[in-house]
């Protein structure tokens, strides 16, 4: 049995969680997921300004703070912290670790930004999986393009003796599956086992979202949420595994908390497609086998497809969102009146937007008309207006029309906060598929 922990569910997650995971008990692996869909474009921008940047800096800080634990325990670490510059991330991590002789592996080869023109020119269309449009229509606006590799590449790096594996855009599930493939010697056609490792990865990839975080069942009664424990997979060679957490930590691992996470961001549950296999979530058998222990068994998988998914980001215009808060009496009516005034002013200024959207926080921002009509005595309402345009100028002008309402609109208004809203550049996501023959992971393992 091997113990694989998750210490990070996204870039921005708890800085303490990975250290707590290492310090609270024996683990074989610590996995860390830093990359969301739009993270790559942010990192690409950072790298274009500084050739040594473009990776998750939180990871390097964690390696520095955890250096003693990493060296003394011999724990292996797998992280997709490399972003668009995994080599620079390795160098920075080696420096932070400051333990000569440590073997660090890098899984790269995912970055195909420089190859897009050549690929599309010879007929690899990279059509949007959402709209079916070919990439050519947005090619000049592309900011990043990365292939999702799976667990197999990570297993290769581990087989070459890496104690730390840093990847670019690998799948979140691959971070957990990779160590299982390596440790148990799973073959590339053992689809049921690969599916089990994939589902283990999916369960823990969002960190504490499977140990009580966001759980609707008994949320008021979950113990010590300030000290919530992050998940640990206890994996067996046959593909069965238990999800648990360290003793003495907060939160709770129950069949309910696990089921919620299993369904998170789920499409067709019979066809969960990864580079390693297709996992069937309808085959999972769950059993509560002890306090904070849920056992998974019976998982079935099918052969992987011959395509990799590609995460492409592109510049898609500008947006800005402004808010103002109105208090009792007539809070909702005032917010509605202010919205009408604002829209009339935008109209008189001749501003055109691709979209303009008003929501009333406290009334309908989350659930729309399902929330019903608010009480006439409602204490306060947040007016939230957003605009979007392919042009920067009208969005910029919009940001200057919110603040005047603090003086020249309906009364009992506040919450202008830090002044004018900011114009944001929209970096949108373009998911596509690429034949596996067109990209392959570049694996290197070096001693520090």
């Amino acid at each position: 049995m091997i113990r694989i922990a998750n210490g990070q569910g996204f870039w921005g997650d708890s800085l303490e969680a990975p250290l707590e995971q290492m310090r609270r008990g024996p683990l074989d692996y610590l996995t860390l997921d830093y990359l969301a869909e739009v993270t790559m474009s942010i990192l690409q921008k950072q790298r274009s300004r500084d050739p040594r940047a473009g990776y998750a800096r939180d990871f390097v800080e964690m390696i520095g703070r955890g250096a003693v634990d990493i060296a003394s325990s011999g724990i292996k670490i797998v992280a997709n912290a490399g972003g668009v510059n995994p080599d620079a991330c390795r160098d920075a991590a080696a420096k932070a670790l400051n333990r000569p002789g440590t073997r660090i592996g890098v899984v790269a080869g995912d970055n195909i930004l420089d190859r897009l023109e050549a690929l599309t020119a010879r007929g690899v269309e990279l059509k949007s999986m959402d709209t079916g449009e070919p990439l050519a229509s947005i090619l000049p606006r592309v900011q990043s393009a990365n292939v999702y590799f799976g667990g197999e590449a990570i297993a290769h790096a581990l087989a070459q003796g890496a104690q730390i594996v840093i990847t670019g855009r690998t799948t979140d599930t691959g971070l957990v599956l990779g160590p299982m493939i390596y440790e148990f010697g799973w073959k590339a056609n053992e689809w049921d086992k690969l599916a089990a490792g994939t589902i283990a990865g999916h369960t823990v990839e969002c960190g504490a979202q499977c140990t009580g975080g966001n759980c609707q069942v008994d949320w008021q009664d979950l113990p010590d949420m300030a000290g919530i424990g992050y998940p640990i997979v206890e994996a067996e060679p046959d593909g069965a595994f238990v999800i648990t957490k360290h003793q003495g930590t907060g939160g709770r691992v129950t069949v309910e908390s696990i089921k919620e996470q299993l369904l998170y961001e789920m499409g067709d549950p019979r066809e969960y497609i990864t580079p390693d296999c297709i996992a069937d979530f309808t085959s999972i058998q769950l059993e509560q086998v002890g306090p904070d222990r849920v056992r998974f068994s019976g998982i079935r998988g099918k052969p992987a497809t011959d395509m990799y998914k590609v995460s492409i980001s592109y510049s898609a215009g500008f947006k800005a969102i402004g808010t103002l808060m109105y208090s009792w009496p007539d809070a909702y009516a005032k917010a509605q009146a202010a919205d009408a005034i604002l829209r009339e002013r935008l109209h008189r200024l001749g501003l055109r937007f691709d979209a303009i959207r008003t929501e009333f926080g406290g009334v309908n921002a989350c659930h729309g008309t399902l929330a019903g009509e608010p009480s006439p005595e409602i204490a306060e309402v947040v007016l939230r207006v957003g605009v979007r345009s392919t042009e920067r100028a009208p969005v910029e002008r919009f940001t200057k029309e919110i603040a005047p309402l603090a003086l020249n609109g309906p009364p009992t208004v506040t919450g202008l906060g830090s002044g004018r809203p900011k114009v944001e550049e929209i970096v949108a996501y373009w998911p596509a598929l690429i034949p596996k023959t067109e990209a392959s992971p570049a694996i290197s393992v070096e001693e520090t």
Partner: protein
């Protein structure tokens, strides 16, 4: 017959993929699952999310988990960074589904 809100017999979690929201609906007890299958149809969910879900609704069954998974297409104002919604990732749509009321036999919750 009695009417109950789904929040009494189920829990839920929701998330996004682009402009599509997914809502996982999970029976709080195994005996509630057949009722979810029978009453919470794709059509019913589409009707429930009128004004929010502008596209089709797909439903998938996970009897092993006592759960249904719904895909609500065109529900997030373009989704991701394009969206102007406060809840651009549909994180609260699970709770929105739990507002739905269904008919159950009078003695069902006893």
């Amino acid at each position: 017959m009695a009417r109950v809100k789904l929040v009494r017999i189920a829990h839920a979690r929701s998330g996004d993929k682009g402009d599509t929201a997914n809502v996982g609906l999970i029976a709080l007890r195994p005996e509630f699952y057949p009722l979810l299958v029978q009453k919470v149809t794709a059509e019913r969910v589409k009707e429930h999310f009128a004004g929010i879900c502008l596209g089709a609704v797909q439903r998938f069954e996970l009897p092993n988990l006592g759960a249904l998974n719904f895909l609500l297409h065109e529900s997030l104002d373009g989704g991701g960074t394009l969206s102007l919604k406060a809840d651009a990732q549909g994180k609260t749509y699970g709770a929105a589904l739990l507002r739905m009321e269904i008919d159950v036999p009078d003695d069902f919750l006893k």
